[in-house]
Amino acid sequence: MAGYDRALTIFAPDGRLKQVEYAMEAVKKGSACVAIRGKESIILAVERRSAAKLQEPRTLNKICLLDDHLALAFAGLNADARVLVNRARVECQSHRLTVEDSPSVEYMARFIATIQQRYTQRGGRRPFGISLLLCGHDPDGTPRLFQTDPAGTYSAWKANAVGRQSKTLREFLEARYDEDMDEAGCVSLAVRALLEIVESGAKSIEIAILRAGTEPEMVPEAVIQAVATAAEADADAAGGGPAAAAAGSE
């Protein structure tokens, strides 16, 4: 197998693109993100890695607005994300200019995924080391959640996680996701999911709520703390606390 991972445009004999897979490894090292699609709103939650003492935490935003109705969170290389987000923002405006309508979430997911795919086929460039969770409402108000990955695939999800421990988080979500959850239920689920893997509890969690017709809202830390405390209390009361914690962390 050695040698088939040097150039991007070469298939390995077993049909894999090694560089793309290595890019996915880079994604797995990124800080975790969780997104949950509720009946009307979408919750986007990210693990905030602690900033260095002299660093301004405000500039480490991992939840990026693409337009006034679209937001995304990413896992992987920050710099790659910046480039993709910039292109996506310009495309949103370009779409508005040419068809006088805001782009649907699927359109933007397809656009970003197409860029990511292009970088897996041409030689001389490496793939973007990013998986992202793109959330928003279509012009008709339907909430949508899409995931893209370094290979350039995209698909819609009801709830998903990317980055660190994403498999664990996804299993956690699968067990507890309910289509009829209201906004508060979704926020609680997102907090509980991230609490399984973050180090310093509620301080390490950042949450954005996307509702149709309004701009995304960042949830204040006090509210996250309250939800976290309630969730921990519920978990202890239900007796599932220790078991869930043991299953969640390795």
Binding site: L65, D67, N86, R89, V90, Q93, R96, L97
Partner: protein, 205 residues
Amino acid sequence: MSSPTEINGAACIAMVGKGCVGIAADTRLGMQAMTVGTDFQKIFKMHDRLYVGLPGLATDVHTISATMRFKLNLFKLREERDIEPKAFSTLISNTLYEKRFAPWFVEPVVAGLDKDGAPFISAMDLIGAECFAKDFVVSGTCPDNMYGMCESMYKPDQEPEALFETLAQCLLSAVDRDAISGWGGIVHIITADGVTSRRLRGRPD
């Protein structure tokens, strides 16, 4: 053979008051002598404290307002703040100069309050040569009329209500002596507390 800026007709004035700015424009859309619209928008809100007036060829009014909306949205997403009026004036000036040898036929007027609440107005020609003033700027198909009225009636440091009166009278009188502008007007007075927009009833001709 008509000049592109004289096909549709327009008149736009921006004026500085005490801690406020006003911007006014007529609402006529014509095809030379024939009036085809009486409620044509020529002033566009960029954000709560920044308005731009676009007199000139109507198709370019549409294009430039959409283009500036595009650029403004990107600015807001990237910078996470509203653009300052002076920066916006530079932005639109550069946008126009990009087409130096095949210009957009609009001569914009910018009016707004900066982040400290200080009034800002500017106007520019169709290739982006800005002119800054402390009192008033005009643009359109009857600039001499508007300049004359403003020079006579302008007083510095007017309160918003008085500024509205002055601006409205200047505009209405100026367009009355111009065949291709008029048919009503709209005035926006921008203050730190908000914007008041009023429609003017002028001579319908």
